[in-house]
């Protein structure tokens, strides 16, 4: 590899911008690169790491340092507890019989102290392992919450975009019920959240309808609800319906749904421009 080519690839590698085959090729080349070439790459990395110093220094909140140092102290304490006891015991054994007779009075005290230390250390170890277990459980919970948070954020991002229309539904047949429709007009998808519908009789189902500007009623979905009258529906809007939509409504229909609405409106919402 000639000098210019090396410099170009080193500059890209130093800033982690090299990709694809060039990255593989360059990293392979580095295994046999000269000392001067390695130094050049390191210099470029140092330059790269220097750039943030151009940012105005930003003072982090004071509690952060305490958080970090607590974490470090916990780790250090956890590592130190056990070995100290072992080391102490070994020293006692190495004294031998002579040491035992010549230090008999002190030995009693030392034995008691060792015993006490062993019990205390045992308790500490037990406590430490319990804390470790709890910490692991918490870490799992945090990971799960983080996953849920990401999923929720994605759901929100999907729901609320610049091209999202929002439709609110309510109705006379079920005054306490309501529904919200989020319409992604780019992908023509609906996400419908329904709340507090009365429980449908065993031989009935709820049915969601598209109502067009020329008063056609087109079935969108037959659905049931949970015990609290809630459900969530995801519906792909037919392309030939979307431009003509004037409203959407929910009725109570015979099991399996109807070709046309046969009951009053449990929920209805007009669709604005």
């Amino acid at each position: 590899m000639d000098g210019d080519k090396f410099t170009e690839l080193a500059a890209l590698h130093a800033i982690n911008a090299l990709d694809g085959e060039e990255l593989q090729m360059f990293e392979q080349y580095l295994r046999t690169a000269s000392e001067a070439e390695r130094r050049e790459l390191q210099e470029l990395k140092d330059v790269w790491a220097t750039l943030p110093l151009a940012l105005p220094p930003t003072v982090p909140p004071s509690h952060l340092k305490a958080r970090l140092m607590d974490r470090i102290s916990e780790e250090v304490t956890g590592q130190d507890a056990s070995p100290k006891v072992v080391e102490f015991s070994l020293r006692q054994k190495s004294r031998g019989l002579f040491g035992f007779f010549s230090w008999q009075p002190a030995f009693g005290l030392l034995t008691a102290a060792t015993f006490l230390l062993a019990i205390t250390s045992g308790m500490l170890l037990w406590h430490s392992s319990r804390v470790a277990r709890e910490r692991d459980q918490l870490a799992q919970q945090v990971a799960e919450l983080s996953r849920l948070n990401i999923a929720t954020q994605k759901q929100l991002d999907d729901l609320v975009t610049q091209t999202t229309k929002f439709i609110s539904l309510s109705g006379k047949e079920a005054p306490t019920a309501n529904a919200k429709v989020f319409w992604d007009t780019t992908r023509n998808e609906w996400v419908v959240y329904i709340f507090n519908l009365p429980a449908a009789p065993p031989d009935k189902d709820y049915q969601l309808w598209y109502v067009t500007s020329d008063q056609q009623k087109i079935s969108a979905k037959v659905f049931g609800t949970d015990a609290k009258g809630r459900t969530e529906l995801r519906i792909a809007l037919p392309q030939n319906v979307a431009p003509r939509l004037a409203a959407t409504a929910v009725t109570l229909e015979p099991k399996g749904g109807s070709a046309q609405p046969t009951s009053g409106l449990y929920l209805v919402g007009a669709i604005g421009a």
């Binding site: 990709d19 210099e43 790491a49 151009a54 970090l68 990401i150």
Partner: protein, 198 residues
């Protein structure tokens, strides 16, 4: 305010840093405390610029120093400067967060290097007195780069984009982006030579 900024900027003394890393390798918590005092502002600034949210940036700071503590034993002083290592970790952890958030940062950083350079590249002596000499030198160096070079470097630094992604984002041929990055880095290396020699 000015004094605080000045004192919070890292100073680079090779012997001092070598001693610090040796103490870290010996699991000296006081050394970790000193290291935090020295670099937390820079690490936090990088994290904020990349993730754009204070809560996330705070996690990045803790993760970064925790990684330093965990990996100090394996740190090889011959591989480069301590600040290079720490800032590299900070940037990596921040970019990990950004990717996990699956969204662009709230603060627009596309042209962050450009903005910083234009805002600070000044001969105003008063400003020079409170910006550290090093910081001012970096500002001046950045200001000498053409805007296109700074833009390509900023996208790599704050978004973690590869050369192909930068080319796609800017709608430029890949070869053009390579050239901009190479020229930009060469110029910065030349101008910041004194900073690289502790």
């Amino acid at each position: 305010m000015k004094d605080a900024n000045l004192s919070n900027l890292p100073q680079f003394d090779a012997a001092d840093e070598s001693q610090l890393i040796r103490r870290l390798q010996a699991r000296d918590q006081a050394a970790m405390n000193a290291l935090y005092e020295r670099y937390a502002n820079v690490v936090y600034a990088v994290a904020i610029r990349i993730v754009g949210q204070t809560a996330e940036a705070e996690d990045v700071v803790v993760d970064c120093f925790w990684q330093v503590w965990q990996q100090a034993a394996n740190y090889d002083t011959s591989r480069g400067q301590l600040r290079t290592w720490i800032v590299t970790i900070a940037r990596s952890r921040a970019l990990d967060r950004l990717r996990a958030m699956r969204r662009a940062p709230v603060v627009s950083v596309e042209d962050e290097l450009l903005r910083v350079a234009e805002a600070k590249a000044t001969d105003n002596p008063e400003q020079e007195t409170w910006l550290s000499q090093q910081s001012a030198q970096i500002h001046r160096a950045l200001a000498t780069l053409p805007r296109e070079q700074r833009q390509a470097l900023a996208l790599a630094y704050y978004r973690g984009l590869s050369q192909s992604e930068i080319a796609e984002q800017l709608g430029e041929p890949l070869g053009t982006i390579k050239t901009r990055i190479r020229l930009g880095m060469m110029k910065l290396r030349e101008q910041l030579q004194s900073l690289r020699t502790p």
